[in-house]
């Protein structure tokens, strides 16, 4: 090829780089596959996984992934392809994306969904910006009890638009106070289940709050819980966001899947990719990306968002999970999550923990420890138990616990026994 190009060495191809800017790489030599695997395995062996150590951490939790999901997302046609800009060569993934949108719409009760944001935190940021574009108002009202990571991301997303975050406190029952009133509110964000794991059924009051301020309602949801509880369309949600963890492993927190759905009337203000059904030139059903004039590659600085690459493959995993489980399987898993969480909560109550908030919870709950928390957590860790997330800023010695279908009775009994020993001072 050098001869064909009329050059003597490959270096000539780089002669436009100014000599003062030339550099070389100080990296070790190449390795073969076996060496790379051995190196990485050795490093990762320093991790302790869910299977080595029961964990009761909330937010992103371990869930069972049926083998058929792995098989589906391992198809190279899906995982090596690019964003489907050529629909004729991408019907497979486009149909899967359309089905994903359909499943999200069904679960959330919304009319449309996009093909993902990065995670629920960035989805919340985008939802706030979308509300601002729609009604030009400046405030985003959020519950005070929200995961602090999410709040930090939200602050970064709304900064450029000059929006202001207003926090609303929660009552003794751990639920957001709904009597808040304010001016210039673009959107109210409610979580259901909320950060304390509590289910909110004040449907009428939530909707009233939104109408009082003539604001948009953004609902933060847990997709699995929506197989058994009423969807946020039930209480007036305009935009729905959440983490689409189904079918996707924890992976130390990423990739996640930011669910984003809304009512049809707002679709042209939606960020991200959307797939639509249409026909080909023979009238046969076909799929393609649509409403692209919202997006950065066309609208540039005026786009609804800067997002380009998203978490598409996580959508396929989510869809494959839902397809494999069906409505019956989803409900079974959701009920199992509730049952196990209740079992663990009762067990903790029996050994001296308090539950500061009454009421129904899904698969997360708050307990407060009778003594210093850090001490307990550290000691438990050395005994092979990862406790929940300390939430001292909300509840003194409070722990937010997460339990799923993966927590067997044996695992919970074993953990409870160790916790009891520690509490009683028998080490």
């Amino acid at each position: 090829m050098l001869d064909y190009l009329g050059i003597k060495s490959v270096d000539e191809l780089f002669d436009e780089i100014p000599s003062e800017a030339k550099s070389s790489l100080n990296l070790p030599g190449p390795m073969d596959d076996m060496e790379v695997e051995a190196r990485i395995k050795k490093i990762l062996d320093k991790n302790i996984s869910f299977f080595d150590m029961p964990s009761f951490l909330p937010i992103i939790k371990a869930h069972y992934i049926p083998p058929v999901v792995d098989e589906i997302v391992s198809r190279q046609e899906f995982y090596t392809s690019y964003t489907p800009y050529q629909p004729e060569a991408s019907q497979g993934i486009l149909q899967a994306m359309f089905e994903y949108q359909s499943v999200i719409a069904e679960l959330t009760g919304m009319d449309v969904a996009n093909v993902s944001m990065y995670d629920s935190a960035t989805a919340l940021g985008e939802a706030a910006l979308m509300a601002h574009r729609i009604n030009r108002k400046k405030k985003i009202v959020i519950p005070r009890n929200i995961f602090w990571h999410k709040k930090s991301v939200l602050a970064n997303y709304v900064k450029g638009a000059g929006m202001e975050i207003v926090e609303v406190d929660y009552g003794e029952d751990g639920r957001m106070l709904l009597d808040f009133d304010g001016q210039d509110v673009a959107a109210i964000y409610v979580e259901n289940p909320n950060f304390f794991g509590l289910i909110d059924k004040r449907y009428g009051e939530i909707e009233e709050m939104k109408e009082r301020m003539d604001a948009m309602l953004i609902a933060g949801i847990d997709p699995l819980s929506l197989s058994i509880f009423n969807p946020p369309s039930h209480y007036g949600a305009d935009i729905v966001i959440g983490d689409g963890y189904l079918g996707n492993p924890m992976n130390f927190g990423g990739p996640l899947l930011g669910i984003f759905a809304c009512r049809r009337e707002f679709v042209r203000q939606m960020p991200g990719k959307i797939v639509g059904a249409t026909v080909d030139s023979n009238g046969k059903r076909a799929f393609c990306m649509t409403l692209q004039t919202r997006e950065q590659h066309i609208r540039r600085g005026r786009a609804t968002s800067n997002i380009c690459s998203n978490q598409a493959l996580c959508c396929i995993a989510f869809l494959a999970y839902v397809a494999a489980m069906g409505s019956n399987g989803l409900r079974k898993v959701a009920l199992k999550n509730m049952e196990n969480a209740r079992y663990m909560a009762e067990g903790m109550k029996k050994i001296g923990f308090d539950m500061p908030f009454d009421g129904e919870f899904f698969n997360e709950f708050v307990v407060s420890a009778p003594k210093n928390l850090e001490e307990i957590n550290d000691k438990l860790l050395s005994q092979g138990i990862q406790m929940g997330l300390p939430i001292n800023e909300f509840v003194e010695n409070g722990i937010l616990m997460g339990v799923t279908e993966m927590h067997t009775k044996e695992m919970m009994d074993g953990a409870l026994e160790k916790i009891r020993h520690l509490m009683e001072g028998e080490e």
Partner: protein, 468 residues
């Protein structure tokens, strides 16, 4: 590719839906299918999709290199998959070590001083970079005046979109002979400029050889120089953004570092900065003390968080495996990518295709198909016809400054034979009957898709199709 009239999931016959005790929600319209039906459905869908393993995928600006299977293997270790992001640091030392090392490797490759791995995609990295620029100017009392971000007209659409999302006004400057127009740049640079966003080589595949002069001009007015790393595959081991004078850099692990694109994601867009901007990077930063890794959240100047946890860890792990495997041979990756692009460009030029602007290219090039308009054809028609020849077409209609653009990036992984076959197809298409090209594709699972109808009558879920 296979052709199926594959029904929607909801159209496949399944079992009855049962509502167990304790369920409040009465209706949930999700089918109950056997595993066999589910697998068949998705297998059929996959067979109607073109991937990198299927064939030549010269999508310009996307760097569709082969995704080594090694990367998939290491990402499936249980100790990577089943660790929780909030586990005690002592129990995730392995993941933290990989992230810490990856940051160092990216510093070496780009010539920057510090990295964050938190951004989940290239555009997310740009947004993070712009937030850092904003925090920097606020810290020196220039937050109110530094309102503008300059981008060339050849820039990726994400550049202006990201700058605007961070609250900046965008100033676009024209290109001159395929490069930054220095006079136009000088004209718009002022004490109002926060940053100039540039990719080098640019989206035409042309190296901005006046980069050092550009850097001097930008710094003279106190602004920052931002590197869009989409085209980093063109320069590894030859030059570094840090040496060229860039202050902030994002890299696309899903382009340069061989992690798969996943049909649109997940990607990863780490951001590197020079020392004076390090304190603004997102929290947490990974630090090493007495042989142990720690997350430091206690950084008062940090912009805070840009995603929920630490970024797309699985993608970081794959990129780490890629860099370990290639090592210093990354320079060969770049050489081969640039050699392939120049070879393919010359072949297409000789075949009569117009490549605007003379001279060399780096890892990609742009041809203009404007001459086919007189036959009543558009670049998209040729793209669709290429599908019939078994090729994924190049990026079409970008960059916007080239009429009827075809943006071609063969990457280092293509052989001379596959590029020659692509050129042959391009030659044949030139000679073909106009109607055949205009009505292409003829061999795909579907014929030309009516995208206008999809916009005019949006059907966005199966509820819009299936009558219950």
């Amino acid at each position: 590719m296979a052709k199926y009239d594959e029904p929607l999931l909801i159209e496949i016959e399944g079992e009855e839906s049962i509502i167990p005790e304790g369920v409040e929600r009465k209706s949930l319209n999700i089918p109950n299918l056997s595993e066999r039906e589910v697998m068949k459905h998705f297998l059929h869908l996959s067979q109607m999709n073109y991937g990198v393993d299927t064939g030549f995928y010269p999508l310009g600006s996307c760097t569709m290199k082969y995704n080594m299977k090694l990367l998939e293997r290491v990402a499936r270790y249980e100790k990577a998959l089943y660790t929780h992001p909030l586990q005690h640091e002592k129990s995730v030392q392995g993941s933290m070590e990989i992230m810490y090392h990856l940051e160092r490797l990216l510093c070496e490759i780009t010539g920057m001083d510090a990295f964050t791995l938190q951004p989940c995609a290239g555009a997310h990295g740009e947004f993070t970079g712009m937030l850092i620029a904003r925090a920097y100017f606020e810290s020196i009392g220039e937050g109110e005046t530094r309102r503008e971000v300059i981008v060339p007209d050849s820039a990726h659409g994400t550049n202006p979109a990201s700058a605007r999302m961070a609250g900046f006004e965008v100033v676009e400057i024209p290109s001159k002979e395929g490069r930054v127009d220095m006079d136009a740049l000088r004209h718009v640079l002022s004490e109002r400029t926060a940053a100039f966003m540039l990719t080098n080589p640019n989206t035409l595949g042309i190296f901005e050889r006046e980069i050092l002069e550009i850097s001097r001009e930008v710094k003279k007015v106190g602004a920052l120089l931002y590197y869009d790393g989409a085209n980093l595959n063109a320069i590894m081991g030859k030059t570094k953004p840090g040496i060229m004078g860039f202050d902030i850099v994002h890299v696309n692990l899903h382009k340069t570092f061989g992690t798969p694109h996943g049909g649109g994601g997940p990607g990863s867009g780490p951001v590197g900065v020079k020392r004076h901007l390090e304190k603004f990077l997102p929290v947490p930063r990974i630090e090493k003390k007495d042989g142990e890794y720690h997350f430091n959240y206690d950084l008062p100047h940090s912009i805070g968080k840009v995603s929920e946890f630490y970024g797309n860890f699985a993608v970081l792990l794959k990129a780490y495996a890629y860099i370990l495997k290639k090592g210093k041979e990354l320079e060969r990756v770049t050489e081969r990518a640039v050699l392939n692009a120049n070879y393919l460009m010359k072949k297409l030029r000789e075949a009569g295709y117009n490549v605007p602007h003379p001279g060399r290219r780096m890892h990609e090039f742009v041809i203009s198909l404007s001459d086919i308009k007189e036959k009543g054809l558009r670049a998209m028609d040729v793209a669709k016809r290429l599908l019939d020849y078994g090729f994924h077409p190049p990026t079409v209609y970008f960059p916007l400054i080239v009429d009827e653009a075809f943006m071609v990036e063969p990457t280092e992984d293509e052989t001379r034979e596959s590029m020659d076959a692509f050129v042959d197809a391009m030659k044949k298409i030139r000679e073909e009957d106009v109607e055949i090209v205009k009505n292409a594709p003829h061999t795909m699972p579907v014929a030309r898709v009516n995208e206008a109808k999809a916009v005019k009558e949006p059907i966005l879920t199966w509820k819009d199709i299936v009558v219950e």
